[in-house]
Amino acid sequence: MMPIKNGRFGQYGGRFVPETVMPALIELEQYYQQLKGDKEFQQEFDLYLKQYAGRPTNLYYAEQLTRHYGRAKIYLKREDLLHTGAHKINNALGQALLAKRMGKKRIVAETGAGQHGVATATVCALFGLACTVYMGEEDMERQALNVFRMRLLGAKVVPVTSGSGTLKDATSEAIRDWVTNVRDSHYIIGSVVGPHPYPMIVRDFQAVIGQELKLQLKEKNNADPDYLVACVGGGSNAMGLFYPYHDNPRVKKIGVEAAGHGLTTNSHAASLTHGRPGVLHGAYSFLLQDDDGQVIPAYSISAGLDYPGVGPEHSYFKQAGIVEYTAVTDDEALAAFQRLSRQEGIIPALESSHALAYLETLMPQTKEDQIVVVCLSGRGDKDVQMVAQLLEGKI
């Protein structure tokens, strides 16, 4: 059972953090192990997932899209229908409940596009916790509406100007805040990244995606899916979908990274397909970096994929051949964004559009009796304004 000693997934993961927060990480791990087997906690979590977040999410048969490709049946796991519009709420709810049990009164979080920040601000409002969200200055401009949402929900949003002023710097700043206020604050990290036990905790809270899928396919009298497709930035929705199938090699799992302007340019976010292992934000994992080990800022049209690292368990899955990782460009994602809007009447998040874009490559290889499930990790409302600017006059 991964992770093994010291939070390792194979050689990846670990706890590369200052001594100041080590006792807090150990305490968090102990608390979490206890609560994992605690029926009352699990029931409380399930109740909030159901009544507050809106689980289970539908497994929607995308008939038009299936007809478009004329091969395998395509199903969409509709995480976009959840409260706050993306899968991020699963983890935010779980961790806020955990923080409450630990007696923490204050939450710290980082956000890129604002989805995780909004989800965290939401659960903090719900549970009466103080909330501080760090966000890159540039991202605050790009996602002004989400900044307002967080403030409306009572969160304090702090602009980050250090480094490149994006998600990676917001993450560093959130960690610095946590190091400073570790005694009364809990850090809700937004993806399966960071030091142990975070990648494990976030995975377990997101695994509800794949667990539900198993049940839903059973109800439809279907066998196992043939392909699972999800986008990978830090990798939480992909981990949530893949993990319950990680020991089933008959189910092919494909993680789609952001190739930005193209993998031959320096403007992409494809750490697994184009990076090499290194340490960022407390974990040893694939990373975009120069020869000296300085982290190279990532680029993607999708702010949620715009991260130079990736969860350590994904690095392990890559090495062990459990998941195949690939990348699609901004343009391919934009085309998929419009395709799903037109064909199914569903506007997907730009992040999820990366997974949808890979269908162009995958579908011709599939057969009619096969099943493809795409994780529709979030809705695209947040992206409409930017896409409108990009496509002006082209629609």
Binding site: N6, V17, P18, M22, P23, S162, V279, G293
Partner: protein, 265 residues
């Protein structure tokens, strides 16, 4: 025994509070780094910590972050820092310790890093993002080259952890004065003083308090509890504001007050 341990032991024997000064490598350029290290040594620093810039320094506050970003922009690299250390060693025997983040060591190649920097005259290594659980990564190489792998203790470290930290420690024990990142602030040093009391039950190694110390007065307050004090952000700020002469003056000032007041404790 490394030169670092020799010097710190001599300080202890002579009742002198050791002064450890931090300088960011390559900020604003390497010529300045070499000059600043030599100026600090001449002004009474006992040890110099050379901070190798990393793009994402999670344990550092704004002053050192900015210096690291500027150094990287100006082209600072691991190889250039190595050269600067060789340059310093031509004229100075002051103990030198490298402070950097683990990724810088790993990407250079850990054995190559430790061998090359040890050969250039480095005495010790501080990796703020490598707690005891992860330090086995470098332990064997450090033992082989007799480089001190310096461990950190924090106000949040439990008594049980402090025991483990002491068991792994070498050179000196870096005692982080407060929960937080590097940078000048007002600190109640008694809480790290309590940690040092526990350290004393396990280890005879010298203790050094760092993080937050920004003035001769603060250095004296911290020195009540430890064998050495570490001054980082305040030195880097002097370098930014007044260049190498300002570093020399500031170090001399701390040295003077420590010698006058420090002996009281």
């Amino acid at each position: 025994m490394t030169q670092l341990m020799q010097v710190l032991n001599d300080c202890k024997t002579n009742g002198r509070k050791a002064l450890i000064v931090y300088i960011t490598a390559g900020y604003p350029d390497y010529q300045t780094t070499v000059a600043a290290v030599l100026a600090a040594a001449a002004a009474g620093a006992d040890v110099v910590e050379i901070g190798m810039p990393f793009s994402d320094p999670m344990a550092d506050g704004p002053v050192i972050q900015k210096a690291a970003t500027a150094a990287l922009k100006a082209g600072a690299t691991t190889e250039q820092t190595l050269k600067a250390i060789r340059e310093i060693r031509k004229t100075s025997t002051i103990p030198l310790v490298i402070m950097t983040y683990i990724n810088i060591v790993l990407q250079y190649g850990k054995a190559k890093f430790i061998n090359n920097f040890s050969a250039a005259g480095i005495d010790g290594l501080i990796i703020p993002d490598m707690p005891i659980e992860e330090c086995d990564i470098l332990q064997a190489e450090c033992n082989e080259t007799k480089l001190n792998l310096i461990q950190l203790a924090a106000p949040t470290s439990t008594a049980q952890r402090i025991g483990k930290i002491c068991a792994k420690a070498s050179g000196f024990i870096y005692c982080v004065s407060n929960t937080g990142v590097t940078g000048v602030r007002s600190v109640d040093y008694s809480s790290i003083g309590d940690v040092i009391k526990i350290i004393r039950q396990h280890s005879n190694l010298p203790t050094a308090i760092g993080f937050g110390i920004g003035s001769p007065e603060a250095a004296c307050q911290a020195a009540q509890y430890a064998d050495a004090v570490i001054v980082g952000s305040a030195v880097v700020q002097r370098l930014t504001d007044g260049g190498v002469p300002a570093v020399g003056n500031f170090v001399a000032e701390i040295r003077h007050v420590l010698d006058k007041e420090g002996k009281k404790y």
